[in-house]
Amino acid sequence: MLARDGLAGEAPPNVEQLAARPPHFTARATSVIFLFMYGGPSHVDLFDPKPELDRWHDQEIPVFKKEDAFMGKTRANAMRSPFQFAKHGEAGIDICDQYPELAKVADELCVIRSMTCKSNNHGPALFQMQSGSLLAGHPSIGSWTTYGLGSQCQDLPGFIVMMDHQGAPVNGALNWSNGFMPASFQGTPLRTAGEPIAYVRPPAGVSTSRQRAQLDLLGRWNSDYAAAHPADEELRSRIAAYELAFRMQNSAPEAVDLSREPESIHRLYGLDNKVSQHFGRNCLLARRLVERGVRFVQLYSGGNEGPRAWDAHDDLEKNHRLHCAETDRPIAALLTDLKQRGLLDTTLVVWGGEFGRTPNAEGGKGRDHHHRGFTMWMAGGGIKPGTIYGATDEFGYHAVENPVTLPDLHATILHLLGLDHEQLTYRFQGRDYRLTDVGGQVLRSILA
């Protein structure tokens, strides 16, 4: 299968790197929107209610191990959630009161409560969530996706990243790195102000028509040369690349031009609200990009470090109130909007951070990093809606029922995209690498 597709462990030739390629089998999803809640959102305060924490509040919980604490002031004492939970939708999905809008589309969600990963340190955990490896230098999942499937959209990059208005997460651009793959598979940052994509706007004083004339002349010279050298594939590709670049100068600004969206859509995504407008704009952009065929869009909520991310060490309530308010309406709007346009069926939406937070307290009001059990959810794109999968123990500490590893999650995402995670390999330094390394089981029971 792979050999036929020209993907037997090596990059396709230059000319074809970004051309659309057929999947291994019929895909359920053609695009992914990954809502990355950077910093570590607290599962026991958002989607995984634990009444035991009320009972054990401020008492030492037996499951705590000192070595699991990332920060020195983390104690074994349980901390009850400051938020109230209720069951929502026909499926009765537990969602906290900080997500009132999301609660209205609860029936779309498949909540995985038994996520685990291998690090409780932001840097390595981010790398692992992105690339399966705790170390830098491995391709991120968006790179694997565009490597496997190419791009459906020839006027825009296939893998686009939008950072939070607060800045980049730790690891910076290495989070969307192509690792050992060719640079054409790396994530392209998209900005909401100024030039949407770097270098996509001609310099001041250069009109489109003049640039067109320059490219025409260049194209003729190149074509003459190419005609004399029919074997030179690369030259023909270079001509095509200039043409694509020229088109991108139009298509990229068009794709990010939100003035083309009606007022009602602006309101739906919360663009009329100071708190939610940043993430709302990114969610709306994500929909527009997916409409145009972009394969993989990653949006960050939370940037920089500490309170500007979901990294609620000091005051969980304050931190999560803010970040929920920033994201609630935008995320609910994204699911609603994708659905009303018939795009939710083919767009997989993934929500989660690099880990969760401790059920026990850090200092008086905070929670520490925690990776032994936490929550992510998915929606659309072939996922079984209205589902709760897996469980943590009574404190929310360990994943105890159907624990899910990151390779499992990655395998499932690739599966929905029509890719077999064991066959999608890339040869580097004498080895065929996989996103899932030597692990990964597709979570078949949450597939629709």
């Binding site: 230059n14 000319v15 790197q17 970004l18 070595e67 340190n121 840097g123 170390l135 830098a136 230098g137 950072m163 800045g167 980049a168 997460p169 730790v170 690891n171 910076g172 651009a173 290495l174 790195s177 690792g179 050992f180 060719p182 640079a183 054409s184 940052p189 900005r191 100024g194 030039e195 994509i197 770097a198 270098y199 001609p202 310099p203 004083g205 028509s209 003049r210 004339a213 320059q214 002349l217 260049l218 003729r220 010279w221 003459d224 004399a228 050298h229 074997a231 030179d232 590709s237 270079r238 690349a241 200039y242 670049a245 991108m248 100068q249 580097f428 330094q429 004498g430 080895r431 030597v438």
Partner: protein, 776 residues
């Protein structure tokens, strides 16, 4: 010797037949039982502790450390013992085989001939016979009539291959093309039109030799070839992880590399210094700095974790060092054997940890450079706060360190230590010269072994790398993997000849360059020929020279050079050219400084541009500057529209274009035609200089035609002759000329516009006398 081989062969045959019988019975009676109870942990795919219970052979081979059965004696067999219900450890950990099942396993063991060989199958003759592990022997140079084609022995090897495939080599490249090739190849910069004119007009026999000597003697040679080495050494000026901490002293290693190439340091010495410069008997400041090779990998110095996490982090760093050491010097992917035996090459997990043991006692340190005294070293620990003020070097040393015991780690897991191992070289490469005292072996012993004349890999690997950089394609297409998954050499005899020539000539890289560049195969034209293309489209037999896109650094350096902007200052801390402020957000902390306007201090050669792991200079990154997380043996050659966008719209390109236009005016005076002619001279690097001059009018005509598209369609003409004129220019030159010509009418009409007048690309160079004077 022959009889030994025969005895071994017979023994192997006997063992083979015994094992065949064992196989048969095992498959029927035992395999289903073990598959049911044991395969989850001890299957072929995932053999815990190296124990694979899926076949008779693998059961006989045992675990990574011990045999698990004693043929003919089930009672003494660990496998049967551990199946007993009271056994400790008991297998399977949470299950129990029935008595019948245990009896079946025991019966099979008892049925085996006690002479059946057990234990690791070890290194087979086939393993030792892998082409790259065979002793390096100088092959005879092919003779026979080569119709006077050959310049060097290299050519005779290539000729012989071509002839046997029914192919012939290409014509020699045009002189101007050849000169340009040599310039970009040896110093990474284009020649000036004057240099081209001089070379084209020089028909003396030693014209090429003199150019090669001049280029190899120029300091730009080290900047060009040192950059190749920095790719391999995963060089960067920051740590990468998390906060991407600055490495304010990393550049000393970069300068060490450049200086080593310029000095034509013998390769063995170069290798020894980088692996063990601190342990040399005659250690100097430079050799200490050389250990920066072991320090270049990504690191997380302000966030290393603690306890188990810290121990794991340390092992990751050591893995980076030995994986890089293995691939760079030996072409051996030993890093693959960290968690299990290598799946393809005869490298065991034990080999990995024995190799690691050479480095295990060493620590990352900062060496104080003020008043360096090899007898009284001032070393500081590495912590999360880089000290940019004091003169320091990043070094690796075991100086003042207690020795460390190295244990094999099952599945590479620090929580799962296995037996103690001593420093040693991979078993498959053991030979008389690897017999050093294992107890006290240090990195210098490893370095000595690597650089020993008898090492079969070292010399082949470096000869192939040099070939790869000259031709864009190695004789072995996988320069860092000489194992079974690597490509075999296309010209094995040529490779061995080059390797021995290099080794026996004292490891002089400059001599090797001279040999290659003066060869007929190097000097061929690069045009595709239908006959040969159909048969060998990848040009593996070298019937022509390969055509190549310029590397990122050469592209940027050529921009600077044709614009007259290049600041030739060498060495020192990395420079931060302008990155648009809106791109700076992509690095989280320790940000790239905001540069409002670039000046001469930024217009240094690209090898001196600060390599920030979280944010590389976009122009370089887009044109495939290496990702510095791992050693990079072969650069990608990607082709994406963002490259075109950066060439069209980036401020750097525009500014250099304006300066290029200024230069043309400065050189040629006020006449528009003379300016066009001069610009073409520079842009074409003097190539086809006569025709370029002769067609100046034509270019003007074309310029008018383009002007016509801006409002006066009546003057539009097809640029036939202009097209032909530049048809041989490289990609970026075409952009440059195109931009220049497009703007010409505006410029002629309104001189004040010239500041915005664009042009770009890699193009000629200033006349030598003006080189240093013209950057402003």
């Amino acid at each position: 010797m022959k009889w030994i081989a025969i005895v071994i062969a017979v023994a192997a045959l006997v063992a083979g037949s015994v094992r065949a019988n064992a196989d048969d019975q095992f498959a029927r009676a035992v395999q289903p039982i073990l598959a049911r109870h044991c395969a989850e942990c001890h299957g072929a795919e995932d053999a815990e502790q190296g124990l694979d219970l899926s076949t008779a052979t693998s059961v006989l081979a045992g675990s990574a450390t011990a045999a698990v059965i004693e043929p003919g004696n089930s009672a003494e067999s660990l496998l049967v013992q551990s199946l007993a219900s009271e056994a400790d450890p008991h297998m399977p950990p949470d299950g129990q085989l029935s008595d019948d099942e245990v009896r079946a396993v025991a019966a099979w063991i008892d049925s085996l001939d006690p002479a059946t060989p057990v234990g690791s199958a070890g290194i087979s003759e086939a393993d030792r016979n892998h082409w790259a592990f065979r002793p390096l022997v100088r092959p005879p140079v092919p003779d026979g009539n080569d119709e006077g084609w050959s310049n060097t022995p290299i050519d005779r090897f290539v000729w012989a291959k071509l002839k046997s495939a029914g192919l012939s080599p290409s014509e020699p490249a045009e002189r101007a093309v050849l000169l340009r090739r040599m310039y970009f190849d040896l110093i990474g910069l284009p020649p000036t039109p004057e240099e081209v004119a001089a070379f084209v007009g020089d028909d003396s026999n030693d014209a090429v030799d003199r150019v090669v000597d001049r280029l190899l003697a120029s300091p730009q040679y080290g900047e060009r070839w040192g950059r190749h080495w920095l790719d391999l050494a995963r060089y960067a000026d920051s740590g990468g992880f998390h906060n991407d901490l600055d490495r304010p002293h990393a550049w000393r290693y970069r300068d060490y590399v450049i200086a080593s190439f310029n000095a034509d340091k013998p390769y063995a010495q170069f290798v020894r210094e980088q692996i063990a410069g601190d342990e040399l008997a005659d250690a100097t400041l430079d050799t200490w700095i050389a250990t920066g090779f072991c320090r270049n990998g990504p690191s997380n110095d302000d966030n290393m974790g603690k306890g188990i996490a810290l121990e794991k982090y340390r092992m990751d760093e050591l893995d980076d060092i030995i994986s890089t050491t293995g691939t760079v010097f030996l072409g051996l992917t030993i890093g693959c054997a960290r968690c299990h035996d290598h799946k393809y090459d005869p490298l065991s997990q034990r080999d990995y940890y024995r190799f690691l043991a050479f480095f295990h006692g060493a620590e990352k340190r900062q060496l104080e450079l003020d008043s360096f005294d090899a007898d009284e070293l001032k070393l500081r620990p590495v912590n999360g706060k880089p000290d940019a003020k004091s003169p320091l070097a990043m070094v690796l040393t075991s100086h003042g360190q207690p020795s460390r015991t190295t244990r094999l780690l099952w599945r590479g897991d620090v929580r799962n230590p296995g037996p103690v191992v001593k420093p040693h070289v991979p078993e498959v490469l053991e030979s008389s010269h690897s017999a050093f005292p294992a107890e006290a072996a240090r990195r210098i012993d490893l370095a000595d072994w690597i650089t020993d004349a008898e090492n079969p890999l070292t010399w082949r690997v470096i000869a192939n790398r040099v070939w790869h950089y000259h031709f864009g394609f190695g004789l072995v297409a996988t320069p860092s993997n000489f194992g079974r998954l690597g490509e075999p050499p296309t010209h094995p005899e040529l490779l061995d000849w080059l390797a021995t020539e290099f080794r026996d000539g004292g490891g002089s890289l400059k001599s090797l360059h001279r040999l290659i560049v003066t060869s007929a195969v190097y000097q061929q034209a690069s045009d595709a020929r239908d006959d040969a293309f159909a048969q060998d489209p990848e040009n593996r037999l070298l019937w022509r020279m390969n055509r190549r896109r310029l590397e990122a650094e050469s592209l940027r350096d050529a921009f600077l050079s044709v614009a007259g902007s290049l600041n030739p200052q060498a060495g020192g801390p990395g420079v931060h050219p302008r990155i648009r402020p809106d791109l700076l957000v992509a690095s989280q902390r320790n940000k790239w400084p905001v540069v409002k306007r670039e000046g001469a201090e930024h217009w240094r050669r690209s090898v001196y541009v600060y390599v920030k792991r979280q944010l590389q200079l976009p122009l370089l990154e887009l044109f495939d500057a290496p990702n510095t997380s791992h050693s990079c043996p072969v650069r990608d050659n990607s082709l994406v529209p963002t490259q075109s966008l950066v060439l069209l719209n980036d401020e750097f390109a525009r500014e250099q274009a304006a300066r290029f236009a200024d230069r043309a005016r400065h050189d040629a005076g006020d006449g528009a035609r003379a300016q066009v002619e001069r610009a073409l001279w520079i842009a074409l690097g003097g190539r086809r200089a006569n025709s370029a001059l002769g067609r100046g009018r034509c270019v003007r005509g074309r310029a008018a035609g383009v002007a016509g598209t801006r409002g006066n369609g009546s003057r539009r003409r097809r640029p036939r002759r202009a097209g032909r004129l530049v048809s041989r220019a490289d990609e970026s030159e075409r952009v440059c000329i195109c931009r220049l010509i497009n703007r010409w009418p505006i410029r002629a009409a309104r001189i004040s516009c010239i500041r915005q007048a664009p042009s770009r690309g890699e193009i000629g160079w200033l006349a030598p006398a003006r080189r240093s004077a013209t950057w402003r």
